[in-house]
């Protein structure tokens, strides 16, 4: 009985590790030189900081990514915001409108 409980818990943990979500990040401003957007998979419950780390690795644009923020269609998301489902996001570099 005890063994069964452990196995179930382990299975849930393995499921969590294996569970991936698809993320699309749209480019604006200085990121446009890399295309319109980027798509990749990350583990479920990844944070916005994790998303930025992936983009930073893929683009080799550390300074630009670190000075940028990630948003959805409604608001800017903080670095500790957790993604549980597939998401379409935007990466917003420093702004200069007007």
């Amino acid at each position: 009985m005890h063994l069964t409980k452990l196995q179930n818990r382990d299975l849930v943990a393995v499921d969590k590790i294996n569970s991936k979500i698809n993320v699309k990040v749209k480019y604006y401003g200085a990121f446009r030189k890399f295309g319109d957007d980027i798509e990749f998979s990350v583990p479920k419950e990844s944070s916005i900081a994790d998303i930025k780390a992936v983009i930073q690795d893929k683009l080799n644009a550390k300074s630009l990514v670190q000075s940028s923020v990630i948003s959805n269609e409604d608001s800017i998301l903080q670095d500790d915001y957790i993604l549980n489902d597939d998401a379409t996001l935007s990466i917003l570099p420093p702004v200069c409108g007007g």
Binding site: R32, V69, E73, D74, S75, Q78, V95, C96, G97, G98
Partner: protein, 155 residues
């Protein structure tokens, strides 16, 4: 051609890829009880830090830019009572002299409209997700550096 905006009796905000219309701004803020209208027009200039500029491309996050315009306009309405605000920002390519933004604000007396107009343009420059790509001779271009939204989002 398209426009993306919202309008109330007091506030009109818009994003457009059509030539911005100064008369449209005047018509919105014109009010028989208001004796002052302040008009700010942003225009593309032909030089920047020693570079000969040929034109500018404006890129925007449409929904967040429009939301920021509404937020800033509402803040201005709270700070300065009984004003009307019109904001329209261009998206796309503009030649030298092209109008990138029009802000018009009317009020009973001039002080409120001057102060509110300055507030609105300065906040847009700091907070609205808009980017400029300058174009130079021989096909060269550059995205201009700006204000990081990290500080804004972290309060």
């Amino acid at each position: 051609m398209w426009g993306l905006g919202t309008m109330s009796k007091q506030i009109s905000v818009n994003i457009s890829n059509e030539i911005l219309d100064i008369q449209d701004a005047y018509n919105f803020v014109c009010d028989p009880a208001h004796g002052a209208i302040d008009l700010f027009i942003g225009a593309v200039r032909n030089n920047h830090q020693g570079q000969n500029v040929q034109g500018i491309t404006y890129d925007m996050h449409d929904t967040l830019s429009r939301q920021s315009f509404e937020d800033i306009a509402k803040e201005a309405c709270n700070k300065w009572k009984d004003i009307k605000i019109y904001i329209n920002h261009y998206k796309g390519d503009l030649p030298i002299g092209g109008i990138s933004i029009i802000i018009a604000i009317s009020s009973t007396h001039r002080a409120e409209s001057f102060d509110a107009c300055r507030y609105v343009i300065e906040e847009i420059k700091k907070r609205s997700p808009i980017w400029k790509q300058e174009h130079y001779k021989y096909g060269r271009s550059s995205w201009l550096p700006g204000h990081s939204l990290r500080q804004e989002s972290n309060g």
